[in-house]
Amino acid sequence: MRIAELLLPLAALLPLFVQEAPPPPATDAPPAPAALSATERAAVARRLAVQVDDALEAAWRAEGIEPAPTTDDATWLRRLSLDLRGTIPRAEEAASFLADARPDRRERKIDEYLADPSYGAYQARRWTEALLADGGSNGERMEGMLIPWLADQFSAGVPFPETVRSLITASGLAVESSPGAFVLTYHDSIETLTGVTAKVLLGLQIQCAQCHDHPSDHWKQEQFNRFAAFFSGVHGNYVPRKGRGGPVTFKLEDRGPAAELLAALRRLEKRAGSSSEEAMAAGEAMGGAMRGAMAEADDAVEEEAPGALAPMASAGAMAAMEEGAAESAWSLEQAAALTELIGRCKAAPAGRDPLAELEADAPAFAALMEQLPADARVLVDEYTERRDKFGVAQYLDGAPFVAEGKSRRVALADWMVDPKNPWFATAIVNRLFAQLFGKGLVEPIDDLSAATDRIVPELLQALANEFMASGGDVRLLLGALVRTGAYARGNSPLEGVVARERQERWFAAHPVRSMDADQLTDSLRRVLGRDATARNDRRGGKEREELLEEVQRCYGREPAGVRANWIARIPQALFLMNGALANTPDVKARPRIVRDLDAAGSPPRARVNTLFLTLLGRPAEEAEAEAIVAQLAAAQTRGVAAYEDLVWALLNTTEFRANR
């Protein structure tokens, strides 16, 4: 039955009753496609919003919590714009919204913002930040690849389970915009990859278990390794450019430990080959064109980018080689042993352990190992270590992995996004909640199973079910949450810290947060007229990146983890007080009517209002405008100086930097 058929008649009656949540979909039915029309989506969103408000209001009554008053239109608009688009509204936008008398003006704005390309771009940044937080070097490049791809996914409304599937199973060449950036970021540590996947997409902190059994939660090291086994065999590499100035390309594939071992052994042989011609000859006889070509390709990688993305298996060999750099010549025995090993690896059927047969005969295995060059021994050790650690794959709910023609990563993705998975939907919905409200229904958002801080847990489960029933429609869920009365609450008026925090925790008052680095960067550019150039063009893009870097330097990149609501640092203060941006507002962007703040024939208030609308999204209050005009008159500040002073003042207010 199409959801639309169900809902259309009901949409008309929404104000009269609350619809019950539809039951979770049958487990063998595919998720419903997110193919709702805008009207249909809006109707579902309204229904969900009422559901959220009812649940929260009941909780407030039960807890004896008085909600804060609803916020005014201007504050609401600025909050919505920052949360959905990552930037403040323009002056004209704010002015026309405030003048809009239609009762559905807020709904229209919500739909408008969700259809804006900046919605997709901002969502992409938030998710990229979470997904790549534990990555190391190469971070910027990977961000540059993941953000545009995710932005397209969100803008196009691709069901989130599909997006996650792409992230987990990405394979092949990764060029400029690609889901591969996620796995590539962690390709040299599948333990970290596993930890991040579980933390961000399942809300489970299992990475402690990689070293030892978790102290408080129930995850065991064996469970961790068996889950990480789904990622074993992932191999990322840098592909040499064709010609000059081509795009940087990466390759991501599942190689399997056996194939890894073979490739590494071949590289080793080739490298040492020049000092042992007989070994090479023997090798050539065994191999063929394919081997030569592979060795060549591998060579090219090493030459082009010695520092970039070292393939997993060669690290041990390289280290061993550093230590024994003097030993470039192998004995004939050593070379022959290596050749034999390579032969065995090649001869083993795909998917089978090449060493199984050999290991069964312990003396023969020991003898071969003795004869191998040290570097090759290291490679074999690494192979057996990985094989033993990640040999068996098992899902976190205890079910074993059964191949059935699927690769491990595909099976993992299927398991994760299955509506039966108890963790996926709740983790995602909780994260989206936290994006808008500062905290999730359950805290901390990346450790749901051990969490003790839960607000109306049934609500999270209900929303999670709805989310999956909609096919994982992020835009729908966000649209629902911003339609709630809870989202429209003002900041807490209470003075006592404990009472205020309690009000905020129950979503009865909206928290005061500082803009994140992306929001501040884009808002500054908007205010100071720098985003006149299209966001995606090269010059605009580069300028934005530079400003973002400077803002991040002032904020200081917080380590992943609990972020305080309000961040105030001295470098930030210095930037806004003495930086060029705050002191030389772009002359071209200056609203044309602002020239001389007390020129005869035009009320100064209008000019002050324009600046307030531009920077703070609201007109100045009477008292404020009066005081400002008076101060400027007293100081005899005129023209450009007055404009600069007032812009500086507004930029340096707490209100400007606040997302409240």
């Binding site: 540590s189 402690c208 070293c211 030892h212 102290p215 690290a315 041990g316 390289m318 280290a319 061993a320 230590e323 290291v378 270590e385 990985r386 805290e443 801080d453 900041n491 807490s492 209470l494 003075e495 810290v497 404990v498 205020r500 008052a509 928290p511 005061v512 200081g556 990149r557 917080e558 380590p559 992943a560 983890g561 609990v562 305080a564 309000w566 105030a568 640092r569 001295i570 470098p571 930030q572 203060a573 210095l574 930037f575 007080m577 003495n578 930086g579 060029a580 002191n583 703070l616 404020e624 400002i628 101060q631 002073d645 007032l646 500086w648 003042a649 507004l650 340096n652 209100e655 606040a658």
Partner: protein
């Protein structure tokens, strides 16, 4: 404790020179007065206005320099070598100038100055992930969602620093920012990205003099006043406070302390011409100028692969910088009042993995201390032959922080965060290490 100024039974006569006021005050501040008071001594001290009790008194304020080794340094490749064993790795051990001690060959300069150091080899914790372990070893408490713990640098700034100074009381050089938690904005760290570069945006902007800046601030206050209530009050006040501190710094004659230009080339070379070395030199300048706590971060120790080459590279920065700092502080008479702590969030595994790496190992790791009244030439704890277990004297993180508090005369039992969940500055289960207290 530096024994250079030892008393001989309180007799003032018989020494070839009088103690400097600094020495007297330092001794009094360390609590020496409590042990050896004679009426003559008391009146002498009273003349100089020194309180005879332990605690701050009017003695030179103590300071903290934390050399933070981000990523978890290997104890095998630093202070607890096990050469020639299956776990020891490729390096040899160097005998130090303290009989019976050796360090890894990667730390030759420190080995020659070991008698200035105290080393704990048996630090132990249960936190093996970076984020949690970093918080534990910065704050003295494992992370807890109900309590925003302050980093120890912020505690030092708050308790014994001068929050009314031109310079921020807590400066952090490089590294992920740590937090002042419930202690608030005044003791939050001022972060310096690059010790060799100027502080960004410090000078007044061209065409803006202090008077104009004041006028601008007045305009700003017209708008901010509206938010000085309810939930927004805290944010406005935090911003105000940081702006004031920023302004203070802008106007201060001391702001030149952040520039290394005045230091000799020879000294800059001795610390090492790299970001870390120059950062440690800046730390010395800062504590000399009155900053209470400085943290200098050296990242890269998380050697899951290429462990020995990474440690060789990193120690080649740590060793000269730490050694130069000891020499420099001693020469300027600052060593007794400056506690230097060198540590990371955990150690590294005895087992070397197939990528020639060591993984995380909180079971037993090393911490080195110097100055600040620590009993130099002391080794606390012993690990077994292979370094896989603690032989004697395990040291909990709580004990370590109790020791810091004791050395710096900080009352760790003070309670904060009382409106939400009361917490003491230092874990009350911690027992200061008697071996390290003078």
């Amino acid at each position: 404790m530096d024994r250079g100024h030892g008393w001989s039974d309180g007799a003032v006569a018989g020494r070839s020179r009088l103690w400097s006021r600094r020495e007297l005050l330092g001794w009094a501040a360390r609590g020496g007065a409590g042990a050896l008071l004679t009426p003559a001594l008391l009146s002498l001290l009273a003349q100089h206005g020194v309180a005879a009790a332990t605690g701050r008194g009017d003695g030179p304020r103590k300071k903290l320099i934390l050399l933070w080794l981000e990523g978890g340094p290997s104890q095998f490749e630093t202070f607890d070598p096990k050469p020639g064993t299956s776990t020891g790795g490729p390096f040899r051990a160097l005998p130090t100038d303290v009989p019976g001690w050796s360090f890894c060959e990667t730390l030759p300069k420190l080995a020659a100055r070991a008698e200035r150091l105290a080393v704990i080899r048996t630090m132990t914790s249960r936190e093996g992930t970076h984020a949690r372990a970093r918080e534990l070893l910065h704050n003295g408490f494992a992370p807890n969602p109900s309590v925003p713990f302050p980093a120890f640098g912020a505690i030092v700034a708050h308790e014994i620093g001068d929050l009314d100074h031109d310079l921020p009381a807590f400066v952090q050089i490089d590294g992920p920012p740590c937090s002042s938690g419930y202690l608030g904005v005044a003791s939050s760290p001022f972060r310096v990205d690059d010790p060799t570069a100027n502080i960004g945006n410090l000078p007044y902007f061209e065409g803006v003099d202090p008077a104009r800046l004041d006028r601008r601030e007045a305009l700003r206050e017209v708008v901010d006043a509206r938010l000085r209530r309810g939930a927004t009050r805290e944010a406005v006040e935090a911003d105000s406070a940081q702006r004031k501190r920023a302004r203070r710094l802008m106007d201060s004659a001391l702001r030149g302390v952040f520039s290394l230009e005045g230091e000799s080339d020879a000294l800059r070379d001795a610390y090492g011409r790299n970001k870390f070395g120059q950062g440690v030199l800046l730390a010395r300048r800062l504590v000399e100028a009155g900053v209470a706590a400085v943290e200098v971060v050296l990242d890269g120790w998380d050697s899951h692969d290429h462990n020995s080459s990474k440690h060789r590279e990193l120690c080649a920065m740590l060793d000269p910088a730490f050694a130069a700092l000891l020499d420099d502080l001693a020469q300027r008479g600052l060593l007794d009042e400056t506690l230097v702590v060198c540590m990371g969030e955990f150690g590294r595994t005895p087992g070397i993995n197939a990528r020639e790496g060591r993984d995380h190992w909180p079971n037993n790791f090393s911490v080195a201390l110097a100055g600040g009244g620590v009993k130099a030439g002391t080794m606390v704890g012993e690990t077994d032959e292979l370094g896989v277990a603690i032989g004697k004297r395990p040291v909990q993180v709580a004990d370590l922080f109790a020791t810091f508090a004791s050395l710096l005369h900080i009352d760790g039992t003070k309670e904060f965060n009382k409106e939400r969940r009361p917490a003491t500055l230092v874990d009350k289960n911690g027992i200061p290490l008697a071996e390290l207290l003078g």
